[in-house]
Point group: C2
Chain length 148, copies 2
DNA sequence: ATTGTATTTAGAATAGTTCTAAATCTTGAC
DNA sequence: GTCAAGATTTAGAACTATTCTAAATACAAT
């Protein structure tokens, strides 16, 4: 089993990003981040928990939530809320939007966004716009094929 | 107290929209819709419940959820999910987007949207785009003033 | 009036998330 | 190295939002 210090050294960028927010790199945080990068299907906390348990059977649900929060706090992970259900998590920090399949609920990264300038949004006096979140709704390739 | 048939007659459009989905206009459904139109601040189910109780003290939480679902089903109300918290409801069926104040959580209608053509979104092969949901994030006038 | 269906209701059940407090780990001062 | 302070993990309780269940009520059609 990897020691904390060894595994920490092997992931400099993570260590730094966490340190910037006054947080440490721990095996659990590293594992959670790894799980997210391995399969970028925008899993829920519960899915992250189940995947993380394979390599780290002792990990708890509370820790998964703590780690996800820590990673979000230090800007390594984005939260994605698209429907009533559980929050999903995305380790892709490039500016991108999400395609949500209304049929099966799957989520895909779309490497294209609408910038506040592009959109030419006219807001009533006093509002201060920070960023635009664009969610594309429709059918994923699988569901589109089945719908035919 | 108004009888069912009398109140139903006074709201033709509601009756029709519901009938189109095989649903009836009931005093509860009418009340819930009225609450939403009275203050279009995108209340949660719980807020709708509390407001509806003033004029209809017997109404139950389950009924509020049932009514909201019925109104959504027949296209009279939109669901709005912007954060981890409770779903919000919007009776404005014009095409519009939402401004979400990241500070205080208030939600405003913005009568401007980004059409699939405008956006010129290039999706990978197979995806079928139905509509674009645009959520504007930033500070509302009150919070922007305080932040200065 | 009677019957079948839709709706409402209270409360139980469930899902997702956050909180709590104890145990463990890490870091830094000595 | 030892020790203390603080950070992190953990299990489980608590909490919030939502859905489900089953009985009561209301309605519409015969
Ligand atoms: Mn993503
Ligand atoms: Mn709205
Ligand atoms: Zn799909
Ligand atoms: Zn605000």
């Amino acid at each position: 089993m990897l020691t904390h210090s060894k595994s920490a050294k092997s992931d400099g960028p993570l260590t730094e990003a966490l340190a910037h927010s006054g947080l440490r790199l721990t095996p659990q945080r590293q594992q959670v981040h790894e799980v997210l990068r391995e399969k970028m299907d925008h899993p829920t906390a519960d899915q992250v928990f189940m995947r993380a348990k394979h390599k780290m059977p002792e990990i708890s649900m509370a820790t998964v939530y703590n780690c996800l929060d820590a990673l979000v706090t230090c800007g390594l992970v984005r939260q994605v809320t698209l429907d009533r259900g559980a929050t999903r998590y995305c380790p892709n920090m490039q500016d991108h939007s999400h395609f949500y399949c209304d049929e099966c609920g799957s989520v895909y990264d779309i490497l294209q966004t609408i910038s506040p300038e592009d959109a030419d949004i006219k807001l009533p006096r006093g509002f201060r716009l920070k960023n635009i979140e664009t969610n594309l709704h429709g059918l994923c390739p699988d569901c589109a094929a089945k719908a035919k």
